[in-house]
Structures are given as C-alpha cells and as structure tokens.
C-alpha cells in the first residue's frame, strides 16, 4: 500500500517537474538575517505581482555555506539568479566565463542612475556583469558623551587629532578603540583606511590585485602609522579572542569610546545608546589625496549556464529601479546604489549616503578586494601586528611570500602615467 502511494507520488512529481521549469525563475539568496530576508521576500512578492507569468522560486541559504556552494552551482547546474559581491569576488567568476554579460540592462537613463563607483565595481573591461543593489559606509562610531568626559569637544578630523584624542581618553581610563579581531576582518578595516588615506585608491587597488609587493616602502609606511595607536595601547586589551559583537559591548558599557565598523552596527545599538552614538568618516591623513571610502556593495548576477536568462533579466532590471531599491534599502537600513532612490529617515543612513555620494572612489573591503587565500594570510598578519608590532618585518615577508605564490612575480614596472 505504502509502496503504491510512493509510486503515485513519484509519477506525479515527475509530471510536475517540466511544468515547474517553464516560466520558473530560480533565485538563490544568502540573506538569512531577519530584516534583509523579509525585505527580499517583499521585493519578490511585488515582482511576482507585476509579472504573473513568472513563478519565482526564492531559496535562502546561510551565507557561510552559500560561499562554499556558489562554486558548485556556477560550474554545475546553476540557478537563474545568484546573490553575490562586487569587486574581486565577482571578477574571479567573470574571468573563467561563469557570469553572464549584463551590459544590455544598463540602457541610457538606467546607467546614469547608478553610483558610478558602484558601476565600476561590477564592470570588467567596460562590460557589466552584475546588478548592485545596496551598500553601506564604514567609519568611526563613537560616544560623544565619553569624548566630552575626556575634554574632547569636537570629534577628530585628522590623524593627529585622533591620536591626541586617544591620549586624552586613555588618561580618563577609557579605551579609545573597541575592536575584536577573533574573526580577523575588523583589523583589515584599519589597514584599508590607513592605506587609502596615505597612498590613495589607485595604489590600494594595485596592491589588492597583487601587483605591488607587501614589502614596498609605501606599505611599510601604513604599518608605521598604525603602530602609533598600537604602541599607545589605544585598542581593546585582549582583542584577539573577542568577536566584533562582543567588543561592541565595551562601547555601550562606557569602557571604550570609538569603534571602526560598518553601518550594520547601528541595528545593534541599545535604545538608550541610540542618541549618544555618532558617526564620523575615518580621519584624513594626507591633505593632497581625494577622499576614498570602503563601501561593500552587494550584487545580483546571472550564471552563464542559467536556463531562464530571459526572466532573470526582467528580475534584475526590476531590482535596478529606483523605487525598488528605495523600498529594499529602507527595510534593511542600508543605502541604495541607485542615486534617484530616497533613503530611510535615519541620520546614520543620511550621513552615509552623502559620504559615499561625495567619495572620490570606493574600495570594497580587504577580504572582498583581494584573493581569499591572500586575505586569509594577510589578515592574520594584521592581527599579529596588533599584538606584536615588533614582528612587522617577519609578518610582511610572510604576506609577500604568499603574494608571490598567488600572483606570481611582479610584472615589469609600468611606465609612469
């Protein structure tokens, strides 16, 4: 009896399968957090309302396992749309031809509405391979009341003022910077920003794509600046065993004053802290350089082997629209990449949008801009440097060994532009 029922079910499923694939759009997403998940489910529902002929199958995966699975999907039998990241993370799939060229979606009018730096980040050799839909700013989140306690009336604008503020905070027994480097990446923000502020975006991106040795004088200079706050003891004690979530508690409990973090931290502010927290961009370190920012961009792509590319294109065009990006980012409290979208009435979002719109260029984040392999080794080096700054030479030699293995010998120096 049971066997018979199973057979019937099997036959029924077999009949359904071809039906399901016609007009079905398979979207694989990594948006497991409650807010983005709800926001995306809403976008999908409204897209479906506008396009009743398309059945969207929206699959959500945990973001860690997603990272491992996406390689299998792209090289095997892929969904029609994948969620992913801009910059190197995207380029590594473009080079072997795994992502669809989407330049045709950026028609006149649409192309101009997208933040030019974000557009650059989904472009390879002038062609676009993805749809950016959100980004956020990274900078110093701090407690104004704690700064005031230490006699700092105005938040620091440049590196010197920042170090001076650190001295005053320490004198009051307040840790200047909360940081938890257990997951390594929080330390990389410091490297990114000091490098962007001292050497500029072009140098930073050359370094990220493995064209410059880590033993280069300009890289060493980054660490020489970073060493000052390390030696002054400005960073949390015992940061190596704390996650960023654990370390933020030091700010809310008044033990630490500032934290270099992404805007997603705002969602974690306890209600009584919301009015005391403020944001400033990372201070400038060189007057004659433009202002560059880290702003991780999240993207959608169509795998080159996708079956339903036609409907996938309709979905991606929909996500490019100003009203869709506005609704999506209002719900997730992030910043739309479409410059015509409105933003949530939140002071951090408004500040962030202005900061990124005025930026002279955007980087992603250390571990999104360079190969995973190199990022992994280098970020451990950053953590070790923050604990033992005297080991700098050995740390840089180790990262450089990895760079040579991954990117090969340095190419012949290009003639000066």
């Amino acid at each position: 009896m049971i066997k018979q029922a199973q057979l019937v079910l099997l036959v029924a499923l077999a009949c359904l399968a071809p039906l399901a694939s016609a007009g079905t759009l398979v979207v694989n997403a990594n948006t497991t957090d409650p807010a983005p998940r709800a926001a995306w489910e809403d976008v999908v529902a409204r897209f479906q309302g506008d396009n009743p002929d398309i059945q969207v199958q929206f699959n959500i995966y945990d973001s860690e396992s997603y990272k491992k699975s996406i390689r299998n999907w792209l090289t095997g039998s892929p969904p029609d749309v994948v969620f992913w990241y801009a910059g190197h993370r995207m380029r590594q799939f473009v080079t072997p031809g795994l992502l669809e060229d989407l330049s045709d979606l950026y028609v006149t009018g649409v192309k101009e509405s997208i933040h030019p730096s974000a557009l650059d980040l989904v472009s390879v050799a002038g062609r676009q391979y993805g749809i950016p839909y959100t980004y956020y700013q990274i900078g110093l989140y701090f407690r104004r009341d704690l700064l005031a306690t230490a006699g700092i009336a105005e938040p620091p604008q440049d590196w010197k003022e920042l170090l001076a503020a650190c001295g005053k905070l320490k004198a009051k027994g307040i840790e200047p910077f909360a940081i938890g480097t257990r997951d390594l990446w929080p330390a990389a923000a410091w490297f990114d920003y000091i490098d962007l502020r001292l050497n500029g975006l072009a140098f930073h991106m050359d370094l990220m794509r493995g064209a410059i040795p880590y033993t280069d004088r300009r890289v060493v200079r980054v660490f020489e600046h970073w060493r000052d706050p390390v030696n002054m003891g400005c960073f949390s004690r015992n940061h190596a065993s704390s996650s960023w979530q654990e370390s933020q508690a030091l700010v809310y409990t008044g033990k630490a004053a500032m934290m270099l973090m992404g805007n997603f931290i705002v969602a974690n502010f306890p209600p009584e802290m919301r009015d005391r927290m403020e944001f400033i961009p990372f201070p400038s370190m060189s007057a004659d350089l433009g202002r560059f920012e880290d702003a991780p961009v999240n993207t959608l792509h169509i795998p080159a082997r996708a079956r339903n590319k036609e409907d996938a294109r309709r979905f991606l065009s929909y996500v490019l629209r100003a009203d869709v990006q506005e609704a999506l980012n209002k719900a997730t409290l992030q910043i739309p990449v479409n410059l015509r979208s409105g933003v949530a009435p939140d002071r951090f979002i408004i500040q962030g949008r202005e900061l990124l719109a005025r930026a002279d260029g955007l980087a992603q984040y250390f571990d999104r801009d360079t190969s995973e392999d190199l990022a992994n080794i280098a970020m451990k080096g950053f953590q070790e440097f923050m604990l033992y700054p005297d080991r700098l030479d050995a740390i840089l030699a180790n990262i450089e060994r990895a760079r040579l293995r991954i990117y090969g010998a340095p190419p012949a120096p290009s003639p000066a532009k």
Binding site: K67, K68, R71, N72, L74, T75, Q92, F93, P96, L98, R182, D183, L184, S236, R237, N238, H239, A240, S241, S242, E246, A249, L250, S371, E372, D373, N376, I377, K380, G381, Q383, E384, L387, R405
Partner: protein, 287 residues
C-alpha cells in the same frame, strides 16, 4: 558445501563492501588524487605533482598544526588516567553514587560545540566567569585564549572534560565484566587495595586500556570542533590543528589541492598510530 558457503559469504559481504567502497574508499582515493593538483574550485585543475607536499613541509603553519596535534595527543593521556580514577570512585557501592555517576557522565552527552562555547565563555578575557572569580578574589586576571602559547591548552582542557567522561564509562563497563571470583581469590591470597589494583584489576582490563587509548589518540588527532568554536586557530595561527588547517585552506582560502594534501598527511598519521596500536595488541595477545 564449501562453494555454497563461499557464495553466501560473498552475498553477505557485498552490501557492506559496496557501501564502504562508495563512501570511504572512493572519496579517499579522490582526495589523495586531488592533493597532486592545484585547484580553486572554479578554474580547471592543474597537475602540480608533489608541489603541494613540498610547500606543506616548508609551511610554518603546518609545523604549528602538527606540533599542536602532538600536544593534544600528549595531554589526552590524562583522559584515561582521570577516567580510570573516576570509574574506580563511582564504582564504589556507596549511597548517592548513582547520581555522581550520571553527573560525571553528563559532559559526554553534551555536543562538543556546546562544550566549546561554555569553555570559551568561561575563559573569555573580558566577560568570562574565570576572570570574574579571579578579580573577586583580588587576583590578577588572565587571558589564555589571547595567548599564542596558552590558547591551544585552553582548548585541550575543554576537550578533556567530555573525553574523561567517555573514558570513565568505558572503564566502568570494563570493571563490571571483571569476574568476581578473581578479585575474591586475590583477596584470599592476601592482596589488599594497591596490590589488588596493580596486579589484578589493571592487567585484567588490558583490552579496555587498548580501546580507551586508541579512542583518545584518534580524538586528539581529529580535534576540529573546539578550534572551530573557541579560537578559529587564533591568535593568528598559533592554535591551529591539522583538521582545522585543512578546513581553512580548502574552504576559506579556496585551495582544494593543498587542503587535500593536509588531509592525506593527517590520514597517514592517523593510520600509523592506529596500526601501531593494533600491532601492539596482536603482538601482546600472541605472546
């Protein structure tokens, strides 16, 4: 008769052999084969011969991981000793021993992930219970998980807790199977506490010792859960072990060939230890 027996042997063994080949032998061979390639999971695989192994044996992180596995192995010898002591203790016929037995056994029932979390909170330098206690007593606080020297031992301590419970259970079952006549006879012959333990109980438990040591050796070599939960191999690479380094190289650094090479070395190492123990057992049995 003979051929029919042979036939039924084949038929009875076939499913196990098939499953074993499919799910153990085949992946094993594929894994070893992969260690001769360079592959990032996307591009075509490149044959590199023994390059992965050459790099591995010059890799300081591999040396650290190997040394940490060795430390883990040495420290895990404590589990059988403690477990045996506990087993002797809770084997006494005293009121309340049933409860004590269940309590000592409890950590083994907990998932290793839970044990790892509990210990990482206990030892946490800023919010941990240990430092709350030390601070309350006016003593200096400690940060073992932040130390390149001590973080590995912190995890071993966490691992020893359930491992001891496991050894205790193995010894308890061993003690239960000891023939009473033997101990009674020894008592008649004048053996008392220490000599009874030393010359009667311990030698009688030889098969249990063997199982317990093997289980501990394998557990020490496969240690991964505690590293994943408690330190992620950190600070930097100081507390990594072969199992975690393999995972990290394969899935975080996307070096599938290199990860496979680490796995192959780990496999060889584990086989050596298990074969050495097995050989020892058979040798002793024959003698």
């Amino acid at each position: 008769m003979r051929t029919r027996r042979g036939l039924s042997t084949v038929v009875l063994l076939a499913p196990a052999c098939l499953l074993f080949s499919l799910f153990v032998v085949y992946p094993l061979v594929r894994g070893i084969a992969l260690s001769f390639y360079e592959w990032n999971g996307v591009d075509a695989k490149t044959w590199v011969g023994l390059d992965n192994y050459r790099e591995l044996f010059a890799d300081p992180v591999f040396a650290t991981a190997l040394a940490n596995n060795f430390r883990w192995l040495c420290c895990y010898v404590a589990a059988p000793l403690l477990g045996f002591g506990l087993a002797l203790l809770v084997n006494q016929r005293l009121p309340g021993m049933q409860l004590a037995r269940s309590l000592f056994f409890m950590p083994f029932v907990l998932s290793q992930v839970v044990v790892g979390l509990v210990f990482s909170w206990f030892f946490h330098s800023r919010f941990g219970l240990l430092n709350e206690i030390l601070g309350g007593l006016g003593l200096a606080t400690v940060a073992p998980l932040d130390s390149e020297r001590w973080s590995i031992y912190t995890m071993i301590v966490a691992g020893l807790w359930p491992q001891t419970a496991y050894c205790m259970i193995l010894y308890l079952t061993g003690l239960a199977t000891l023939p009473r006549e033997l101990t009674d006879a020894a008592r008649v012959d004048g053996a008392r506490r220490w000599s009874l333990l030393r010359y009667v109980v311990v030698p009688q438990l030889r098969p249990v010792h063997f199982i317990v040591f093997m289980v501990c050796a394998v557990a020490a070599l496969r240690s991964f859960d505690y590293v994943m939960i408690m330190t992620l191999g950190g600070p930097y690479d100081s507390s990594t072990v072969l199992g975690y380094y393999m995972y990290e190289q394969t899935f975080l650094s996307q070096r599938y060939g290199y990860g496979a090479a680490i796995a192959t070395v780990l496999l060889a190492l584990m086989s050596c230890i298990v074969f050495a123990l097995l050989w020892h057992l058979f040798y002793r049995e024959r003698r």
